[in-house]
Symmetry: C2
Subunit: 221 residues, 2 copies
């Protein structure tokens, strides 16, 4: 098992040592949770199950998450939480600093708004391209529909253009502060590579932002 | 303009009278917010813009939400919040009781999990059927792909079956307490009608749950 350790000594966090997150390391959604935990310097144990080798059809995974998706957070008492953002929110409650979901009513609302704009826009379009055009994804997406892959491919640059306009006004996706919306956007943009898509160089605000967030230590988590 | 008034007198809430929510009343996402506010007895003013008549392409809507979607919450000072769940979260912060997003770390995480399972599963499949099979939606979804509508149509019953299994163990989607996940599921299931889909009578737990949540006064909001 792959243990992620924070750089600093935080003995108060050792009680987390026996919980774990089940993931497929190379998939994009588990990366969202790893980056989130790295930003908070929370060490959690990871257990690898490779979805590409059919590991998510195992009976124990089905029992924990009938949707057969990772990541899955397993708590010390055996209770589980699925869905990347739900797992992140759990850790936000336990370790509120730095706040990655916002710190007052308006910032919490606007970070939720931006995270959803990225998820239901850019991230989903990129994911649909991969799921409907990669032969490796045939086990997860039936039927694969080439026309749907192409329709989504054409929606990526318009999404990026709207995000670029926002980044012309603020350093981060949801404004002045790095948030979960930046993590979602980073993972979505890096997932463009297997979709054979690239950020146009004319979108200079995204290029600047992507360079900056990729330099953060958490981006390597 | 359509003013929604709570049944009870809550003078402390009158400061909300000059904020408003821009919506298309017959669309499913604005209904999520109306049901949420009705559950909290928060009166908010609504302003109708009919997306089916092209109203969301107006310059003021584009400026508020470049994604050109409703609902949009406009605050007294002109700031705005888009995305239904972000708007709901804003009101949850202002009016925490009854808690519809959970009341501790684990319940907040599991409600987020269930809300997302419904959104990215059932609700999205139903919406894709409507967007890709209804001639009226051609202005919003190009290209419309019949094969994709059919692929989503076939995924609805498997989603309902997983939800039925959960409702065999608990009165509400996320467990013992009515939550935003129930609102999302109610709206998704009622949106099956324009998709020409129906809940199989064999899914008795969903039938029981749907009857119960439809009886709540908020369901008519």
């Amino acid at each position: 098992m792959n243990i992620m350790r924070a750089g600093s000594d935080r003995s108060s966090r050792l009680e987390l040592a026996s919980m774990r997150i089940i993931e497929t390391r190379r998939a994009p959604n588990p990366r969202r949770v790893r980056v989130f935990l790295a930003e908070k310097s929370v060490p959690v144990e990871f257990e690898e199950r490779d979805m590409m080798e059919g590991a998510l059809a195992a009976a124990d995974i089905r029992a924990m998450n009938p949707w057969m998706r990772v990541p899955i957070l397993v708590l010390d008492d055996g209770r589980t939480v699925s869905e990347s953002v739900a797992i992140c929110r759990y850790f936000e409650e336990l370790y509120p600093t730095p706040a990655l979901f916002g710190s007052d009513a308006y910032s919490r609302a606007t970070i939720e708004m931006w995270n959803r704009r990225i998820e239901f826009g850019l991230f989903q379009h990129v994911a649909q391209v991969v799921r409907h055009s990669s032969a490796k994804m045939a086990a997860f997406e039936q039927p694969q529909i080439g026309e749907w892959a192409e329709a989504n491919r054409h929606k990526v640059v318009p999404e990026l253009t709207r995000i670029d306009a926002q980044l012309a006004t603020a350093p981060f996706i949801a404004g002045e502060i790095f948030s979960i919306a930046d993590i979602t956007a980073l993972v979505a943009i890096d997932f463009m590579k297997p979709a054979k898509l690239a950020v146009p160089e004319t979108l200079t605000n995204i290029v600047r932002w992507h360079h900056a967030v990729s330099q953060r230590p958490s981006a390597r988590a």
